[in-house]
């Protein structure tokens, strides 16, 4: 079984606006099991062949859905996420960007008390090549395989997936954890999932400046990870105190520099690439050394 998104994942969409519809089509095209969508007030109808429901609870009892992908705009996204958590879905992918930090503080607290795994916000989502995707990433750059990918960013993840595919390294699952300061699933959380995944032999970790998630993950890698890791940390050239696009990508109070993260990862035995163009090749070398 790969992680998060498997053969058993049956998902609904929360937020069938223009963006939701656009991506619903692409998720269906690559074989994702979408079983319905939730648009309050429009229950009982159908959009693009998907049954519509007023509430997540209705959708779950009618379809047996166990996952959701959320495209609801930022002012309403937290309500949607908490509705999904309260409906006991096992996976919630929150695509929405621009969610206020204090709203995410509430969601995070809710997650601590429930078994739901939330990925995001402000993320490209999750893809298990060959099985499906709950996300907005282009499918054709991915190929099934045994390398896991965890990343905070969007297009940089696509760059890395394309490099891996070109280098002949297929992916088990790719998790875009999101660029915000407060996220549902951290690098460390995703790394733990990959550690226990029978179908993942190695992991590529794409971090960036800000916070201490990469350092925490390095500690976990050193203590418990049984698989090799290749990493790149974006933002070596970023100035202090400036938010580099992502709300979470900021070197503040002297913490969160790329240099610190690289050192921590190297000390944990991770193959750290200084050039973002070398990730695919490095991953191939590591994979080849395993067999």
């Amino acid at each position: 079984m790969p992680i998060l998104l498997t053969e058993d994942t049956k998902a609904i969409i929360q937020g069938m606006g223009k963006e939701g519809k656009f991506h619903a089509e692409r998720m269906l095209e690559c074989g994702t099991k979408l079983v319905g969508c939730v648009t309050p007030g429009k229950g009982g109808g159908s959009i693009m062949g998907l049954d519509t429901f007023d509430t997540v609870e209705d959708a779950v009892s009618a379809t047996g859905a166990n996952a959701s992908i959320i495209f609801v705009p930022a002012p309403f996204a937290v309500d949607a996420a908490i509705e999904a958590i309260d409906s006991r879905l096992s996976l919630v992918v929150l695509i929405t960007e621009g969610i206020p930090a204090l709203d995410m503080v509430k969601v995070k607290e809710k997650l601590k008390r429930n078994k739901t795994r939330l990925v995001g916000p402000n993320c490209p989502g999750v893809i298990t090549p060959g099985i499906g995707k709950l996300g907005i990433m282009p499918v054709d750059i991915y190929t099934p395989g045994r390398c896991g990918v965890i990343s905070r960013s969007g297009t940089l993840t696509y760059e890395v997936a394309a490099q891996l595919t070109k280098a002949g390294i297929g992916q088990s699952t790719c998790v875009g954890i999101g660029g915000d300061p407060i996220i549902g699933t951290t690098h460390e959380d995703a790394m733990k999932l990959f550690n226990h995944d029978q179908e993942t032999d190695m992991v590529v970790l794409i971090g960036e400046i800000g916070g201490t998630d990469e350092e925490n993950t390095a500690r976990y890698i050193k203590d418990a990870l049984k698989k090799p890791v290749v990493a790149f940390i974006a933002g070596s050239t970023a100035p202090k105190g400036k938010r580099m696009g992502h709300a979470g990508a900021i070197i503040a109070g002297g913490k969160g520099t790329a240099a610190e993260k690289k050192t921590a990862l190297r000390e944990a035995g991770v193959h750290v690439c200084d050039s973002p163009a070398d990730i695919g090749i490095t991953a191939r070398e590591v994979m080849e050394s395993l067999h």
């Binding site: 607290e109 750059i141 969007g154 297009t155 696509y158 394309a162 660029g179 105190g241």
Partner: protein, 397 residues
């Protein structure tokens, strides 16, 4: 995904103190003025000794000469004349400093003791942390490193908020007594209410003074607000101060672009923040220096590309432009068309442009660039593109 505008919402001290008043946190009487004559009048109204404080979005103002004591209204006028219009340089400003446009004239207090109280969103714990120290007036980060025993952190469960017992615990630890203890507890509870109601990401009182007559008083006030919460706070837009922003960065922000000026010579235009940072890193890795961070957004529309070009090329240090686009949902042929349109309209006077397109319809995109009759250098690989741009930025071919 919609273009993501990063709104940095720092609030001036005088504005933060207005917000404090609204929540019942005691601050000294004062007035903000823009002319030195008005400083004199303000000092007269306030009476007695006053402090004249430069209003810029940076700490360390005192050391830089931006905070001065005045014994009477005439002195206040003269001090205000010195401060207004000065380029105040502190460890937190840009090298060239920030021009002071406002000063806060405030009643000077007789201080017995100074403490520190702050609140911040702790991203590691995903909760609000209250930070307190019996040593006010110092930089808290330095204090936390040098004397960690003097800094106390308390985390707040968001479902119940800051509890009075926690506020009491902090105030006992700070060694507050009698009236100051009661006021300290209520100050903490008010600050928490402010933090959550106003969508702050940081709120700091440094120092919080206990005056000779036992009053608690916020001598300084710092608030950062969460720009992502602007949809529920109409007043947030009013806090923006263009005087504090780099003009190019401000122009970018107004056009939904995320741009940060740096000091190098390779201008970059990239879709996505992570890839933009990685592109800067690769330029450096290839021996060059990036001139900027620029994220044209996930969609990289032709308008966005054109605007981005305008901003990039108005930086005179830019000797070469590197465009790195990873097409996903957005198709590279569309982006290429946008680039051709934008470059066609601009007079770039031989500025070399390296374009690397990858992903959806990349080869169609490259065809469009090659057939445009404009002088683009196309590169297939990420490394190759960066290397070419670095060579061109140094005058090579």
């Amino acid at each position: 995904m919609a273009a993501y505008v990063v709104i940095c919402l720092k609030v001036h001290e005088y504005q933060a103190k207005e917000i404090f008043r609204k929540y019942g946190i005691p601050v000294p009487g004062g007035r903000v003025v823009t002319k030195s004559e008005d400083a004199k009048n303000a000092a007269k109204e306030i009476g007695g000794k006053v402090v004249v404080k430069a209003q810029i979005h940076a700490g360390g103002r005192g050391k830089g000469g931006g905070i001065k004591l005045a014994m009477d209204p005439d002195a206040a006028e003269s001090v205000a004349r010195d401060i207004l219009g000065m380029r105040l340089v502190t460890h937190q400003t840009a090298q060239e400093g920030t021009i002071v446009k406002h000063v806060l004239v405030e009643k000077a207090s007789d201080i017995e003791r100074e403490i520190y109280i702050g609140m911040v969103i702790d991203r590691e714990r995903s909760q609000i942390a209250v930070i307190a120290s019996p040593e006010g007036g110092m930089e808290i980060e330095t204090l936390a490193v040098n004397s960690p025993e003097k800094v106390r952190r308390t985390w707040i469960d968001p479902t119940v908020g800051l509890m009075p017992y926690q506020a009491r615990q902090i105030c006992f630890w700070l060694g507050l007594r009698d009236q100051a203890f009661k006021d300290g507890v209520s100050c903490l509870l008010s600050l928490y209410r402010l933090f959550t109601s106003e969508d702050a990401t940081l709120a700091e009182i440094n120092p919080l003074a206990i005056t000779k007559d036992g009053q608690l008083l916020a001598i300084d006030a710092k608030i950062n607000l969460d720009g992502d919460a602007a949809f529920r706070h109409r007043e947030m837009a009013d806090y923006r101060d263009l005087n504090e922003e780099d003009p190019l960065e401000a122009e970018a922000k107004d056009n939904n672009l995320s741009y940060i000026k740096l000091s190098g010579s390779v201008g970059c235009m990239v879709n996505g923040a992570g890839l933009a940072m990685a592109t800067m890193d690769l330029i450096k890795h290839c021996g060059g220096e990036p001139a900027n961070f620029l994220d044209v957004g996930g969609t990289a529309s032709s308008e966005a590309v054109e605007k981005a070009f305008n901003i990039l090329t108005s930086d005179k240090d830019v000797k070469c432009v590197l465009i790195n686009i990873f097409g996903g949902i957005v198709r590279c042929d569309r982006v290429a068309k946008g680039v051709v349109d934008a470059v066609g309209k601009l007079e770039l006077k031989g500025l070399p442009i390296v374009v690397r397109l990858e992903g959806t319809n990349a080869s169609e995109g490259v065809d469009i660039l090659n057939r445009s009759g404009l002088n683009f250098h196309t590169a297939a690989g990420f490394h190759e593109a960066a290397q070419k741009a670095v060579e061109l930025s140094k005058g090579g071919a």
